[in-house]
Amino acid sequence: MEIIATYGFIFMAMAVVFGLYMTWGIGANDVANAMGTSVGSGAITVKQAIIIAAIFEFAGAFIAGGNVTATIRKGIIDPSSIVNQPEILVYGMLAALLAAAIWLMIASSKGWPVSTTHSIVGAVIGFAVVGIGVDAVQWGKVGQIAASWVVSPVLGGTIAFVLMMSIRRLILNTDNPFQSAKRWGPAYVFLLGFIISLVTLFKGLKHLKLELSVGMSFGVAVIFGLVLAGIGWMLINRVKVDPSADRDFHFASVEKVFTPMMVFTACAMAFAHGSNDVANGIGPLAAVVSIVQSGGEVAQKASLPLWILVLGGVGIVTGLATMGYRVMKTIGSGITQLTPSRGYCATLAAAATVVLASRTGLPVSTTHIAVGAVIGVGLARGVGAIDLRVIGNIVVSWLVTLPIGAGLAAVFFFTLKGMFG
């Protein structure tokens, strides 16, 4: 207890710095991955992507991110055996943050498709094993999380596949695809607003003092979807047929209908990412802050202070503006194959899956789900060429990230323990 009292401020400062470092890294690489499909399909510019990300990442973290933060803070480890040594948990969380952030730095500079989520989960487990003991890890929960890493990209891919098929049937394979696109466009926007808001509201938003019944959730989701559809309808109505572009590619005008719709999916994706991935940076930070502020209580139920969320948001936007900018440009020029309609399917599928996982408190990898969604579109024979080696790399990065995150966290844990006693 004295250690916390003596070094409390230093711990807080370290947590803030490491947390900023981590969220900066998330913004630099991860957000760019999440928004890449929108930028790549030409629906929004890089600048617009940054603005959208700034707003909706924060909104996602604030409105729907609580569950994941809680999981990372206290779902993976059982701290009951160290109630009398709260500093262990502080060292551990600091070590985990630093380990994950450094590993992310290394991996993204090498171009390995690692996941921020996997890094932080691996790091938390790593410190728990060496710092508390193997039994302190809630292996059941970890198993659930690991299973979600397999299930979520598959789910994202399946949704994308179904969406792609529906667009073909309802829009492309008709007498007048352009008219069909205009007719069904708002319906697809409604679908997006409805799904995202329903998933967000379904379990209620306790921390916002908003408890909705299932029926009310449905009602609000319908209203939200209708409002979005209205806005979408106005935007879509402005789209005109471009005969010269149609000569080259018959569906050019149809794709133009999907372009304004991609703006909505970009927002949804940023929201989804915020609800899931911001927690990776601020979860451990929140854990440290709550221990220090309560003077050493380990398992209390404090709510997430707003300033921590803001801090996470600032870190992400800074990362995006300083480094993510370039990453997004690379992605944008790399995936010209993703037309707005295909991008719409992939992004909506990914966003819905991520928000769904977040609401159940499962930290999933946005990048991997987005990759899964793109492959779903590919399975519908909708993408010219997908390099399957990326899947191989992802699997390898899974297998590597967990032990390396864990190992690094263990090293930092002992370093911190040595420094502070």
Binding site: A28, N29, S109, G111, F249, G334
Partner: protein, 226 residues
């Protein structure tokens, strides 16, 4: 940071764009064949040389694209079509350019003089063969739409119809070729034996332009069916 981002890496270069670019160049080769016979009939050796050079240049260009595309199609690439079928289409397209080159080479190197009775029918055959190439190029231009539709539905039906039309054009070239060969054999006593053989070869080759064009369409049909 890095240029090797999982997302940028996920997307291989679409082979269909390259296939279309290749076909456009191949078509440029084929299109020069009727003017070549024209120039030959007019005795304009200068024009023959210019046209021949143009065909040779284009053929080399097509070869380069072909090789690049082949090199860019690793087995790990997941495509909406079978890799082997795709390479077959490419091969058939390339054969059109190769054949155009053979024709131009022969006309130039052997300083062929076109017998008066062959002028018109030869030109007709060449034009019809180029029609076949034009039609197959048109089909290849539909690849974007086919991908958008997942190689199904109306778009696939439309391409099927285009292939049918291509087959009809190719039938025409067969008839024209047989007719022309018959003409040639009627006049064979008036010509040098080697010339007769060479002209027969040329008739074959000009007909081959349409043959390969037809095969492009047929292979594309396989691509759709998978």
């Amino acid at each position: 940071m890095s240029t090797t981002n999982p997302f940028a890496n996920l997307f291989g270069k679409s082979p269909f764009k390259a296939l279309q670019v290749h076909m456009r160049i191949v078509l440029e080769c084929a299109r020069e064949i009727p003017p070549l016979f024209d120039a030959l009939a007019a005795g304009d050796q200068e024009a023959v040389v210019t046209l021949k050079n143009k065909i040779f240049e284009r053929e080399a260009e097509a070869d380069k694209i072909k090789n690049d595309l082949r090199g860019a199609l690793p087995k790990s690439l997941f495509m909406p079509v079978d890799r082997r079928d795709l390479l077959e289409v490419l091969q058939m397209q390339d054969s059109i350019a190769d054949t155009a080159q053979d024709i131009a080479g022969m006309l130039f190197e052997r300083r062929m003089e076109i017998p008066a009775f062959m002028k018109e029918p030869m030109l007709a055959l060449a034009r019809r063969s180029v029609d076949a190439c034009e039609q197959s190029a048109k089909i290849i231009e539909e690849l974007d739409e086919l991908v958008a539709m997942g190689f199904r539905g109306r778009e696939a039906t439309q391409v099927e119809e285009m292939v049918e039309k291509l087959n009809l054009i190719e039938d025409d070239t067969d008839d024209l070729g047989i007719e022309l060969a018959r003409h040639l054999f009627e006049h064979e006593d008036e010509m040098k034996p080697v010339s007769v053989m060479m002209w027969y070869q040329l008739i074959e080759w000009v007909g081959d332009l349409a043959d390969y064009a037809e095969k492009v369409g047929d292979r594309l049909r396989l691509l759709i069916a998978r």
